[in-house]
């Protein structure tokens, strides 16, 4: 029941995108998100859509998985759309009772919805094609310059990889705990908000205890293997840029250039 969450999930497939260096994918995702905010008109969105669709096709991840990620934020999306639609002042298109939909509002709402969906699909594409370990490796290497500022880069990366690693485990655990309490007649659905919140206690207590126990076990296991973070630590599989990463960076640069150019096109709407 709780397994439908795709956040931080990896989809196993063999594609160029999967094999790409995680740094390329991180930089690419950030560049894509930034360019989303540069877009001014529908042509820009069309270009972004084509680019995104192409990358999804190449990645061999079924489109269904992207949409699954969207489900979680559909509510947020709706609120943004509604607020933008009704609260933007401008030329009135439709009006009923106290509400007015303006031309500017409608435009804002559509653009906002597109922007948010592209943003979510784009970033879930990154997590779907990169294993959590690879992702944190990439982040660690990208953030390395921050070490000069005494930012504990390695530790942050380690914390992230452990957190990502534990998401599916804890989801699984939650599922089991819920079932165990359901078997004792627990009811998580009916009742008002307070009652519902209270009914979470029998899930949360065992979950926290199990999380702490796991954390403790993990710390013990790391200690037993003489783990020391940071300095002088080498990698079994060091990250190396290859030809495909160069191609990717060039494509990305071209994409950003196209987006910047679309800003100059002035459309009547």
């Amino acid at each position: 029941m709780i397994r439908d969450i795709t956040l931080g999930q990896y989809y196993q497939a063999d594609s160029v995108i999967h094999r790409m260096d995680p740094r390329t994918k991180i930089v690419g995702t950030i560049a894509f998100i930034v360019s989303l905010f540069l877009i001014k008109n529908i042509i820009g969105y069309a270009a972004a859509a084509v680019f995104l669709a192409a990358v999804i096709l190449i990645s061999k991840v079924p489109f269904r998985y992207m949409v699954k990620g969207m489900k979680a934020v559909v509510f947020l999306l709706l609120i943004t759309v509604v607020f933008n639609m009704f609260l933007t002042p401008g030329e009135v298109l439709v009006s009923f009772w106290k509400f007015r939909i303006t031309k500017e509002g409608l435009r804002q709402a559509v653009f906002m919805a597109l922007r948010l969906s592209f943003l979510i699909i784009g970033s879930s594409l990154m997590t779907l094609t990169t294993t959590p370990n690879n992702l944190t490796d990439g982040l660690e290497k990208l953030m390395k310059p921050l070490k000069i500022l005494r930012v504990p880069v390695h530790e942050i990366a380690m914390i992230m990889s452990i957190a990502l690693r534990f998401i599916p485990i804890l989801l699984d655990e939650t599922d089991k705990i819920m079932k165990a309490q359901l078997a004792r007649g627990a009811d998580f659905e009916s009742g008002n908000l307070i009652k519902k919140a209270k009914s979470m206690v029998p899930i949360l207590v065992p979950l926290f205890i199990s999380a702490f126990r796991r954390a403790n076990d993990l710390a013990m296991a790391m200690e037993a293997r003489c783990y020391r973070g940071g300095e002088h630590r080498t990698k079994m599989k060091p990250l190396r840029y290859r030809g495909r990463d160069l191609t990717a960076y060039l494509t990305l640069a071209a994409f950003v250039a196209v987006i910047v150019m679309t800003r100059r096109i002035i459309l009547p709407f």
Partner: protein, 286 residues
């Protein structure tokens, strides 16, 4: 309150590339008051099967009837079903959450909406049935030993007064002494209350001594469903699916091969002992 499983199949993640056929066309009849052992290698679908019995999982195809009614009918009261078919999960850590043992056991009956007096009475009875002494009642359930936690978890379900008690691997992770104690306790409880008990395990040794019926699962199917001694007669086939008959079965079969006229269908050490003594004492000294 007979329970009937009619061609039940269950697939996890059905419709995706990762589809797993956990149950494959299972039909069973579970009458009142039986003591049943459910055995299978790890991953054979035991836990999946028992979660169907109290409606936590719904079959992908097939039907389950309890007391003549389909438990997945729209208007079937699920909560009532779960109070009648009590399921204790493999790990007690998944259900203990209250500040003390007594309160934790009260959780089940409280969910049934009983009066405070009735709740406490049932909790007390349940704790006594599983052999938890009064001195532990007001301790935190997290401070108990593994075996005690398991007992409290069982009491938590027993307090709902189920007609069927299902225990998923109640002995996992216990030492031999703790294992024997808990199995004895379950057998005593069964004798006292007369409810149906289904004991899930992957060790034959565990259940052979106690149960009257043995269901052996392999890869989501029921391979054997018979009395323990009839099932153990297939000890060679059992080995092929990663299970083993109790040690005594092997001893008796070896003795029979060596020319002693012993019965090979004994299941417990005591029976084997008597049988060997009987045969040996009938052999005249030369």
């Amino acid at each position: 309150m007979t329970m009937i499983l009619d061609h039940v199949s269950h697939a996890y993640e059905s419709g995706t590339a990762m589809q797993v056929m956990a149950l494959d066309n299972i039909s069973l009849v579970i009458p009142d008051g039986q003591f049943i052992g459910l055995i299978g290698h790890t991953g054979s679908g035991k836990s999946t099967l028992v979660q169907h019995l109290n409606g936590l999982l719904a079959p992908t195809s097939g039907n389950i009837y309890y007391d003549g009614r389909d438990i997945h009918d729209e208007d079937y009261p699920k909560k009532e079903l779960r109070s009648k078919v009590g399921l204790v999960f493999q790990y007690p850590e998944h259900q203990l959450f209250e500040v003390d043992v007594f309160k934790d056991v009260c959780f089940g009956p409280k969910n049934l909406g009983l009066s405070q007096k009735e709740i406490e009475l049932r909790a007390y009875e349940a704790l006594k049935l599983v052999g938890i002494e009064d001195e532990y009642f007001y301790q935190s359930p997290f401070d108990l030993s593994g075996g005690q936690k398991r007992r409290v978890a069982i009491a938590g379900v027993l307090a709902m007064k189920p007609q069927v008690l299902i225990l998923d691997e109640p002995t996992a992770g216990l030492d031999p002494k703790g294992r024997d104690e808990i199995l004895k306790q379950i057998a005593a409880l069964k004798a006292k209350t007369g409810i149906t008990v289904i004991l899930v395990s992957h060790s034959m040794e565990d259940v052979a001594e106690y149960v009257e019926r043995l269901i052996v699962m392999n890869r989501g199917r029921v391979l054997y469903d018979d009395t323990p001694s009839a099932v153990f007669a297939h000890y060679e086939e059992l080995e092929k699916i990663g299970l083993a008959a109790p040690q005594v079965t092997y001893v008796m079969n070896e003795l029979a091969k060596a020319g002693f006229a012993v019965r090979t269908d004994v299941t417990t050490i005591e029976e084997a002992c008597d049988e060997i003594l009987r045969v040996v004492s009938s052999v005249p000294f030369e």
